[in-house]
Symmetry: C2
Subunit: 535 residues, 2 copies
């Protein structure tokens, strides 16, 4: 009975017997890697708590998922001629391009990224082939009779598998570059006049030149996405044996779970099948391990600062580490720093280094005064959930943009990790800790986060269950999917109406000329007559 | 504690003490008339159930609201130099224009409507003046210290009162003609390529010529709305003592409660502060009065048909009534007909006339097989809620469009009440009762209606409470409100970019010409030299 979902009232069950979801669902999951998996893992756990059966399909080259581990769900592993460290190395290369200092110009960065993305594409191609053209695997998946496919578009072609298995689809997405997938595959409207195209570090209040920039970036991303997906379109058509496109296949998703909410996002248009479930991984804090709790308590009234640059950044240059450590030594708070690099020489007694920290439990601790973060979405949401103001040290990808959201909402001070001096970090920490406006702002966001009709995790699971109960959610999917781009933008209609106007104008002019000539003819004979008389 | 709302978990209350809404809220309600009030009344009742205090502000000329009646809430009545029957007569005149048969052409109908709307505008003007320029009333309202204003835009200028009292606003709307208010005041995107402009009786699957029609209607409605609101803009500016517009004032609403949902609507874009609460008035059926239950039970296995043309239509011409009554006599079901006109001569023994029927309880009765309806939204939602297929006899306003939604979703057969013959109605009834596809379709809509994360009434009250708790919902309101129409559509940006392109092209051409001329000059002296040599 538990798999009916908490909000599914008894009344409805009694009234509509065919509504009841008599068997627990069977969910196939194709996860992303790194923080994407850590986020989706929460959905998997909740599905299991509600007695659904979950199968996680993963390649032998996953750098994140330890599929040999015993779990409450089953792993289905497919073999790929790649090693986990090779896949991880590609991600590292991408991070390193962003992390270069002094930073090369944008063209150089673009070329470097293009180069790595080429390798990523090749890797995806191998993975997709090994998954989709593996008859044994596909037969086994078919035999398992899943009710829904839940996937992260980080690994492309998952939607192809849904198509082959004829399964309804729920996808989980933070965002795509320039909202390209959301706009071009999901049909989400995104007016460039007030929806800043991510990640551009702009807000929804743009001056004229920012709107010009936004429009240009929007066009460039759209064009780049179209170019990139053209290659995929052929692959998709080949696999499905009929002409199709990547966007068409992806656009069949029943529900788009977007991993943000209006506490973080600038308000913008959405579609009925877009559900915002940001912070679904957030939980109340659990008690800290004894040693850590003692350290935290030793901070007295000053409290502590939590510092982490996320799971992908283990170390910094010694110079940067020393700058940071010396700054941390100048504040009265104790500092819990997740850092696996070499211990900085300037490390002060108030700072302790840890290989791993229970971040959520620390952020939820009443003594926590501030969070120094790289700006990953998972960490930001934990800070919002627990109401902890931030000092942002963004590193790469969407992190500068994420932190810009927090900065404009008054909940963070953002620094450039490559350029900042010790005193900059000290000032920033003192500001977010001592200026009450930062605490007020983050508490406002926290209130918005907590004051939702349904908790994000419950909402995510609700819509997965909905799709299983109803074999999809077609009633939420806009008809725009069946229109071509020129039909969507009414270009054919406008062309037709302009033609009609042109035709009418033409006819009016012709009629006018005709009438004018008639009058002219009437007078001309007289005129001629007069003329001849004169002659 | 009850006024915190059911979904507001204890955890949040403990964690964020300032989140708790310690006092119950104080709600000012400005209702619409007729079915608008019957719908909003459900929200009022639920607010009262949750211990909020409610004041309903109403004029002495309300044709619907009996403000002398003792209620759980208080009425605040303001005097207007009008009589209730005069106000009602205007509504009747509008209905009669739509109901004319044989129907005049659209131009004549348009002129007649314009004439009545002129009188309605005059009436609104008087009401607004008597409400807004009544210092005693405004002082009393100010003293009552409300937390929120809930209003129906059926009576304009309610938003002006919110502005004067400096209150956050929740508005309740079914739709405005051509989505004009939603689009132009609420900033809701509405692409004409797949969002049929209501009430045009088109669906979201439009052929080319329908899209042309949709685009034209969209432009006409936008233009007409702009014209109509220009007059109001002056009034709004005058009352507020600063230049403003009707749309700007209305657009300040924190939450738009839309009285439909995706069981009824074609999926289309929305905004974060648009909440779809269609069918919030629907309830499980209560037992019928004894006499009615006996009549229903006497129908045996054939069951009954429920027939009502709504609260505004009491009688029909005898010819139409006879056509209908004779059709009803030809079906094996018993018929419960809400009809206050003269008893038709052809009335058969299987049909009983009633001045009033408990419509929701009848539609929820297990013996009910079909519903003959004029297509008002409240009735349609009761049919969806209880899963009863429909025969539609649309009369006026949005009813033909409403029923087109049900027809295209396979849950209704629609007839023209003025043209249909007895056999048409018999055929239609037999079809919806005996063809299982109609029952399946309405049950599908019913499942969609019941399978929501939150019941519509709970959602409506949740967001009203949210606005009271947070003194608004600014985080859901798009920045588009601060843009002019040409900024919103990026016309200034496009003009700028085109100018830049034109300038670059111009410079390129000029440079080309310059270089060309340079080459030309180089050759000309030689040429001249050669020429002079020859000479």
């Amino acid at each position: 009975m538990q798999c009916l979902g908490k909000s599914f009232t008894l009344f409805v069950i009694v009234l509509f017997s065919d509504l009841s979801f008599s068997h627990c669902g069977n969910v196939l999951v194709l996860p992303g890697e790194y923080s994407h998996w850590y986020n989706m893992r929460n959905i998997v756990d909740e599905l299991l708590n509600r007695n659904h059966s979950v199968t996680v399909l993963v390649s032998t080259a996953s750098p994140t998922i330890n599929f040999t581990q015993q779990e409450r769900f089953q792993y289905l592993v497919f073999d790929v001629p790649l090693k986990a460290h090779e896949v991880h190395s590609l991600s590292e290369q991408l991070v390193n391009i962003w992390m270069q200092y002094p930073r090369p110009n944008m063209v150089q960065i673009g070329l470097q990224i293009m180069d790595v993305l080429g390798k990523v594409r090749e890797m995806h191609h191998i993975m997709c082939d090994r998954m989709l053209r593996n008859e044994t695997l596909v037969s086994r998946l078919t035999a398992l009779k899943f009710d829904v496919l839940l996937y992260d578009p980080m690994i492309i072609c998952s939607d192809l598998l849904a198509n082959i298995l004829d399964l309804p689809v729920v996808l989980s997405l933070r965002f795509s570059l320039g909202f390209s997938m959301e706009r071009m595959c999901g049909q989400m409207p995104s007016p460039p006049s007030y929806v800043p195209v991510p990640p551009t570090e702009m807000t929804d209040r743009m001056c004229f030149m920012e709107r010009v920039k936004n429009m240009i970036v929007y066009v460039v991303y759209s064009f780049a996405f179209r170019m990139a997906s053209m290659n995929l379109d052929n692959y998709y058509s080949e696999v499905l044996g009929k002409p199709t496109t990547m966007c068409e296949t992806m656009g069949k998703a029943d529900i788009w779970l977007i991993r943000t909410y209006w506490d973080f996002e600038y308000p913008r248009p959405l579609l009925p099948n877009f559900k915002f479930v940001g912070g679904l991984h957030c939980k109340p804090a659990k008690p800290l391990p004894k040693e850590l709790e003692e350290f935290v308590q030793s901070s007295g009234d000053h409290g502590i600062v939590v510092f982490s640059l996320g799971s992908m950044i283990g170390n910094l240059t010694m110079e940067r580490a020393n700058t940071i450590a010396s700054a941390l030594g100048q504040i009265p708070q104790k500092v819990v720093w997740r850092y696996t690099g070499k211990t900085p020489e300037t490390l002060a007694p108030n700072t302790k280094l840890y290989d791993w920290i229970p971040q959520n439990d620390l952020l939820g601790h009443p003594k926590t005064k501030a969070f120094i973060t790289h700006g990953g979405t998972n960490g930001l949401y934990e800070a919002i959930y627990h109401g902890v103001p931030m000092v942002g040290l963004p590193l790469f990808a969407d992190q500068p943009d994420n932190l810009m959201h927090m900065k404009t909402k008054g909940a963070a001070v953002v620094l450039d990790i490559n350029k900042m001096q010790s005193e900059d970090l000290v000032d920033a920490l003192k500001t977010v800790i001592n200026n009450p406006l930062y605490k007020e702002s983050i508490m406002r966001l926290s209130r918005i986060h907590h004051d939702q009709p349904m908790k994000p995790l419950d909402q995510a699971v609700y819509w997965i269950e909905f799709v299983m109960r109803n074999k999809g959610a077609k009633h939420l999917r806009v008809q725009a999917h069946d229109l071509s781009w020129y039909q969507y933008h009414c270009l054919d209609v406008v062309a037709f109406l302009l033609s009609v106007v042109a035709l009418i104008t033409f006819l009016l002019i012709k009629t006018g000329c005709f009438l004018f000539r008639k009058c002219f003819r009437k007078t001309r004979p007289d005129f001629k007559a007069k003329k001849s008389k004169k002659e």
